[in-house]
């Protein structure tokens, strides 16, 4: 089969040293560039070809029988898998330190695929309440129609989560860091609770990305990423991924084949290409995030900054202990501004474009109250911690100096 890279190379030796050191795990950039790919590809090409075929043919009835009896690892029909998504799945599994990863046509398709597999009528699931709102909405509004009961408790409140678990509970879910408050959850505690109560654990690590944290090392059962964000990284594709053990993911993959929410080969090629610079981009997102957050924190027009890399963040200590960097997403409050005045600061920015999403090379900026919560009543917004004067910025990989200069001029206007 494919001779995929396990890069068991050594740390840089000096020329006269004998090469007898322990093998070490390849660095994140080497993994990003090479992992999951065949060393030697069809036609000896350096990059993977895009295989658009919707179906795959067999040379004889016997080869169908071999395939059915799982003697042959190969494609059959495009809804079940294609070579481009398999390469990316192996690369993502390597980045997440996972045995297996399953790709979907979007982040939401991924969590729907997982929960539809794991939850049955009568089962219960508990969320921390800062989890991506569409994932909770799916459970509250849609899984409820199939008899699944959903609870949510305050993010980081493990006592409340413990109290919400009963003998019908199958899974607990958290995002980390959360959006837009950037709360980092203590994964040791999260996993310990799951183990103690015998429920599976799921982490949405989209905002951290596998560069900054690897939740599977803590014993989490499933990691979920919207690969639309940092993994794709170029604001030009939608994708979602669930990673975990082969055993746990096998039925999930089977259901994907039935539901059909697999991603397309062209998209998978773009994702693979984007992943080549993943480690490099993340270093820059982390640097830009930290510098812009520090700038904002020192600005007189800024009332508060939410960024896990700042000591002022309530979960800074957990973040510092568990994460390599804190990403490019920053939320801040403008001092003495109503929602209109806050919007005019966004309008005055020249580099970040106004829009939802995050994690791409282009910076984006938005006002959560307008972008995502405009139709909610003020009391509801208050309950979600969405203030009128709140701005969320996703730092891209531009020069931090330019981003800071731009925010400076925007904050000094209006």
């Amino acid at each position: 089969m494919h001779d995929s890279i396990t890069v068991d190379s050594k740390p840089a030796p000096t020329p006269n040293q004998s090469s007898s050191q322990q093998p070490h795990r390849a660095g994140p950039s080497t993994v990003s560039v090479h992992a999951g790919e065949a060393r030697q590809k069809p036609n000896d090409a350096i990059t993977d070809s895009i295989c658009c075929s919707s179906t795959y043919t067999f040379d004889s009835t016997q080869s169908i029988l071999d395939y059915i009896h799982e003697k042959q690892d190969r494609e059959e029909y495009g809804r079940y898998g294609n070579p481009n998504e398999k390469v990316v799945e192996r690369k993502l599994a390597a980045l997440d330190g996972a045995e297996d990863a399953i790709l979907y046509s979007s982040g939401m398709a991924a969590i729907v695929g997982l929960l539809m597999t794991k939850l049955n009528a009568g089962d219960e699931i508990v969320f921390f309440d800062e989890c991506y709102h569409r994932s909770r909405e799916f459970c509250f509004k849609h899984l409820s129609r199939f008899g699944v009961v959903t609870h949510q408790v305050k993010t980081g409140d493990f006592d409340a989560m413990n109290a919400a678990i009963n003998d019908r509970t199958k899974m607990i879910v958290s995002e980390s860091p959360t959006n837009p408050h950037l709360t980092v959850v203590d994964l040791e505690q999260f996993v310990a609770l799951g183990k103690e109560r015998g429920v599976e654990t799921l982490i949405d690590a989209t905002l951290a990305s596998p560069f900054n944290i690897q939740p599977l090392e803590y014993g989490v059962d499933y990691v979920w990423h919207s690969a639309t964000k940092y993994l794709g990284g170029h604001n030009d594709l939608l994708a979602g991924v669930i990673s975990g053990s082969k055993e746990k993911l096998e039925p999930v993959r089977k259901l994907r084949g039935i539901l059909g929410c697999i991603n397309a080969p062209h998209n998978m090629y773009l994702l693979e290409r984007g992943l080549k610079t993943f480690a490099l981009r993340m270093q820059r997102h982390n640097e830009n995030g930290q510098r812009v957050a520090e700038f904002l924190a020192s600005h007189p027009r800024v009332e508060h900054v939410y960024y896990p890399g700042l000591p002022s963040h309530p979960t800074h200590a957990i973040a510092k202990r568990t994460m390599k960097g804190f990403g490019g997403l920053i939320t801040f409050l403008v001092r003495d501004a109503d929602w209109r005045q806050t919007g005019s600061i966004i309008d005055a920015c020249r580099i970040p474009r106004i829009g939802p999403s995050l994690g791409g090379v282009e910076s984006l900026i938005e006002q959560p109250m307008v972008m995502s919560y405009f139709d909610y009543a003020p009391e509801q917004r208050a309950k979600f911690g969405i203030a009128d004067n709140m701005i969320r910025m996703s730092c891209g990989i531009e020069d931090a100096d330019d981003l800071i200069a731009d925010l400076e001029q925007a904050l000094s206007q209006s």
């Binding site: 190379s9 840089a12 000096t14 006269n16 990059t47 604001n235 030009d236 282009e362 330019d402």
Partner: protein
């Protein structure tokens, strides 16, 4: 705004959809406002929205009056050479890319274009080679594979007063490091197949011109001869440019580490890398390139041709292949691969020995690459 910010935003201005990434146009033709009236785009050989966007960012990054995207680097170089006429004389450096050598000696020569090869890192050699019919000087901003560094301002001060065009193939040194037009070049050429695209997946070429008039002449030839870049490749090239400066900075610093490591290796006779103090034009490189010296290293082993071949085949991370500049590291033997189209006398004259190895340093971790070379070279 700084280079990296411009690389991300220029040419990606929003259209009516608001898309952060502009749509990819594959249309070959465009509906016109009326008979005999022309809209911005008419037929995609003459220009297309997706190609125009990448040409815009390229011109901006090079500090050029305009840029043109071609279906390959050779198509771009050929377009520049079509500015010449029968009887014109070209001076080129003696360690240019093999394909350019072939173009000049086997294709341009058919149109009675004469060529002289000189060691271009010595500007005097160019001055000495000028004839009354000299119309173009063509150099590479880093010579290949001997990694020589020409003095672009000194050469421009010879060509400009003489009315000779100075073309610089800057494939090895993208605008994130050096902008030849700022140093006096008239035309900058890139095989965008390399660092600009950066992902080993689109073949492309670029010409960027100092002034509008020269740009218009090149555009006329491009449109008349038709070697334009397609819509999908224009998109991929543009996507690659967004990470150009990050990639180049990281790959250059890895290359410097590898060059320093090779230099102390007992089985390595010499290392050619502009970032090393031992490089003959190190001071010049520092002057023009600052602290980033590119992603290409050449070195000579102490072994013979067979040993060189063995080492080239023994790496596990470095792929054995020509081309360069992408995220994947590559290794090759110029004498039998990239410069095989030189005749052997020209190879010898240029000093391209059989034991020369060329590395293209990619984006892998420096430690992993050094470990790979260590096991391949052996002790």
């Amino acid at each position: 705004m700084k280079f990296r910010t411009r690389a991300i935003h220029v040419g990606s201005e929003p259209d009516e959809t608001g898309a952060v990434i502009p749509p990819i146009y594959l249309a070959t033709t465009f509906i016109q406002p009326g008979a005999g009236e022309w809209g911005t785009f008419d037929y995609s050989r003459s220009g297309s929205p997706t190609r125009a966007r990448v040409e815009k960012v390229l011109a901006d990054l090079e500090g050029a009056a305009g840029a043109l995207a071609f279906s390959s680097g050779m198509a771009a170089t050929h377009c520049a050479m079509m500015l010449l006429e029968a009887g014109s004389h070209v001076i080129a450096s003696n360690d240019i890319y093999g394909g350019t050598y072939r173009l000049l000696h086997k294709i341009c020569s058919r149109n009675q274009i004469e060529v002289s090869l000189v060691p271009a890192h010595d500007a005097e050699s160019i001055a000495d080679a000028i004839r009354p019919n000299t119309k173009m000087v063509w150099i590479e901003s880093i010579g290949n594979p001997l990694i020589t560094i020409p003095d672009i301002p000194a050469i421009a001060s010879i060509t400009r007063p003489a009315g000779i065009l100075l073309g610089v193939d800057s494939t090895f040194v993208p605008p994130a490091i050096l902008r030849p037009i700022e140093l006096g070049a008239d035309i900058v050429m890139h095989s965008a197949t390399k660092l600009l695209g950066g992902h080993s997946d689109c073949l492309a070429g670029v010409l960027a011109a100092r002034d509008r008039q020269l740009h218009d002449r090149l555009y006329y030839t491009q449109n008349a001869t038709g070697a334009v870049l397609g819509g999908l490749e224009s998109f991929l090239l543009h996507r690659g440019i967004k990470t150009l400066s990050l990639r180049v900075r990281e790959q250059s610093s890895t290359a410097l580490r590898i060059a320093q490591w090779l230099e102390q290796h007992p089985r390595v006779r010499r290392v050619l890398y502009p970032g090393l103090a031992s490089h003959p034009q190190h001071a010049r490189a520092r002057n023009y390139m600052g602290d980033q010296f590119g992603t290409i290293i050449s070195f000579e082993l102490t072994g013979d041709i067979a040993e060189t071949k063995r080492v080239c085949s023994a790496t596990k991370l470095f792929g054995l292949a020509v081309s360069l500049g992408a995220v994947e590291s590559l290794i090759e033997q110029p004498a039998t691969m990239s410069h095989a189209s030189y005749d052997s006398a020209a190879r010898a004259a240029a000093g391209i020995s059989d034991s020369l190895i060329r590395l293209s340093v990619g984006l892998e971790d420096a430690d992993d690459l050094i470990a790979d070379l260590d096991q391949a070279i052996g002790s």
